[in-house]
């Protein structure tokens, strides 16, 4: 599991550049859905919460993890659903 810090940093910096170019290509009309969906995907933080909540033994860390799983789940389900709801409303001229 021990990733080398420099290789992680490389991934991070390159991803910032990818994000920069991808987000500039987003049409301004969809900036609100953009925020909603970035919100949903940043909740991938749930993977850390799952590992914390995963052990069979009871601990403070497990409680924190379970609460974090619940919070992130609100965001994941709510974020994708509300984005879907918004995007369904964008229609072309008939």
């Amino acid at each position: 599991m021990h990733g080398d810090f420099i290789s992680q940093l490389s991934i991070f910096v390159l991803a910032v550049f990818v994000g920069y170019y991808v987000v500039w290509s987003v049409t301004p009309a969809l900036h609100t859905p953009l925020m909603a969906v970035t919100n949903a995907i940043s909740s991938v933080i749930v993977v850390g919460a799952l590992i914390a909540a995963g052990p069979a033994d009871m601990s403070q860390a497990k409680i924190l993890g379970a609460v974090a799983v619940a919070l992130a789940s609100v965001n994941i389900f709510g974020g994708f659903a509300v984005t879907q709801r918004m995007l369904a409303m964008y229609k072309k001229k008939k």
Binding site: M1, F12, A15, V16, V18, G19, V22, V23, S25, V26, T27, P28, A29, L30, H31, T32, P33, M35, A36, V37, T38, N39, A40, I41, S42, S43, V44, I45, V47, G48, A49, I51, A52, A53, G54, S59, A61, K62, L64, G65, A66, A68, V69, A70, L71, A72, S73, V74, F77, G79, A81, V82, Q84, R85, M86, L87, Y90, K91, K92, K94
Partner: protein
């Protein structure tokens, strides 16, 4: 074991690529729905991979938490009004921030299960920096977003809260937080870690209170960015590339949106963040003259007559339209105009509303086709050919003083050139100044007709008068 670790890493890579494609899909409304689906797929892969990993041996609590959280999320998402989207997004940001704090806290309490400590229970130095930063940014995101939510929801006044020595206090607290991160590398005792978290909560609160309601587009974008950096910080802590990539994507997305919003107001990011803008309106009388100058006031019937005989009408919606929930009534009015052969288009200023793209969503909700809606730079040259500019719920973004009066607080802000239209119809509740506290010269021009009243009622009356 080695093979399994590789498969896990590959699955996270697939998830990260799907997230990139989800954002890429938003380049046009046609591809956006597929994009959103890819985002869901990416999330399912990331969560599924983690659930199947050997670190997870007990599923009861996880299932319960996902069920409770997921159900709450779905209910909120299906019920929320589109006008309330800014506060919903702020609330969601606060949850990401708090989740980041909790995950960092869990990693701190039980570093062994994340592989972050040596046999003696000493957390690795690099991991300490990463978890401290993740927790700190997460805590700032949480409390900042809670304040932004309260301001947007109207639970507290949208007015900036300022006091003497505010910036000095924030600077000291910021330096104190950085010092605690450094000290945490030397001493991993709980007081240091939780002290840092508490300090960051206070800091997030203090950073947002001086910022006024109409600057919320910048604040919401900035908190969006923070939530991304917090996720990336946790990704570094947990050596999880999917989390690092996603955090970087979200972080840069929020940063770009903040930049676009600042540019839309011709203000620097620091000017917005330092706050206090629009707090008192001392400039109002100085730059705009008193309200006793005559304005031309019209009735809904006059407006209906003018618009029906026009060749083209450009609608300029603003936050006031959202407050009055007038978007559906507005679209009905425009349907009538189109039936009468009038060309109707909509002009959106970058900072109209309380978050980026807020007006576009409201118009889409009211079934306005998105190819009738234009951004400032695409439509501004068309006002001079337009017969009518119909301003509903916008004010500062139409103020010609931004071009002509160097002493005005909004000087240099890009504005919609509504004054170039043959007639300007201005729907407004009264003569009050806009957020920037400046009087709008437009009200006193010969070709401007003021329509005083509630935006929704006014538009409905106009429609009936056709």
């Amino acid at each position: 074991m080695e093979l399994q670790a590789n498969i896990t890493s590959l699955a996270y890579l697939v998830a990260a690529v799907l997230f990139i494609l989800a954002l890429r899909g938003l380049s046009s409304p046609e591809t956006s729905r597929t994009g959103n689906f890819m985002g869901m797929l990416g999330m399912a892969i990331a969560v599924g991979t983690t659930i199947l990993s050997p670190e997870i041996t007990s599923y009861g609590w996880i299932l319960g938490a996902v069920f409770v959280g997921g159900a709450a999320g779905l209910i909120i998402a299906s019920r929320i009004a589109m006008t309330a989207m800014p506060q919903l997004v702020a609330a969601f940001h606060s949850l990401v921030g708090l989740a980041a704090v909790l995950v960092a806290g869990a990693a701190y309490l039980n570093p062994g299960s994340f592989g972050l400590a040596d046999a003696a229970g000493q957390i690795y130095i690099a991991s300490r920096v990463e978890m401290a930063l993740g927790a700190m940014i997460g805590a700032i995101t949480f409390s900042g977003s809670v304040i932004a939510f309260a301001k947007l929801q109207g639970l507290v006044s949208g007015k900036p809260v300022t006091f003497a020595g505010q910036h000095m206090l924030n600077a000291l607290l910021g330096l104190g937080a950085v010092a605690l991160v450094v000290y945490f590398c030397l001493d991993q005792s709980p007081e240091v870690f939780w002290g840092l978290v508490a300090l960051a909560f206070v800091l997030g609160f203090l950073i947002i209170i001086p910022i006024g309601g109409a600057d919320m587009p910048v604040v919401v974008s900035m908190l969006n960015s923070y939530s991304g950096w917090a996720a990336a910080g946790i990704g570094f802590t947990l050596h999880n590339n999917a989390l690092i990539v996603t955090g970087a994507l979200v972080g840069s997305s929020g940063a770009i949106l903040s930049y676009i919003m600042c540019k839309g107001m011709n203000r620097s990011f620091f000017n917005v963040i330092l706050g206090g803008f629009g707090g008192d309106s001392t400039a109002a009388s100085a730059s705009g003259g008193e309200d006793d100058r005559p304005v031309k006031q019209g009735s809904a019937e006059d407006a209906a007559f003018i618009m029906k005989n026009a060749g083209s009408v450009i609608i300029v919606p603003g936050y006031g339209m959202a407050v009055a929930q007038a978007q559906h009534a507005l679209r009905e009015m425009c349907d009538e105009l189109k039936k009468a052969g009038v060309k109707v288009s909509y002009a959106i200023h970058p900072v109209a509303g309380r978050m980026p793209g807020h007006m576009n969503v409201l118009l889409a909700e009211a079934n306005v086709p998105y190819d009738e809606v234009f951004e400032l730079e695409d439509i501004n040259s068309e006002f001079q050919q337009a017969d009518v500019a119909f301003v509903i719920g916008a004010n500062d973004v139409t103020n010609p003083a931004a071009k002509t009066d160097p002493t005005s607080p909004i000087f240099g802000m890009p504005i919609l050139d509504v004054e170039k239209a043959k007639t300007v119809l201005f729907v407004k509740r009264g003569m009050a100044a806009g957020y920037a506290g400046v009087q709008n010269e437009l009200f006193f021009k010969d070709n401007t007709m003021m329509l005083f009243g509630d935006a929704k009622k006014m538009v409905e009356t106009v429609t009936r008068s056709f």
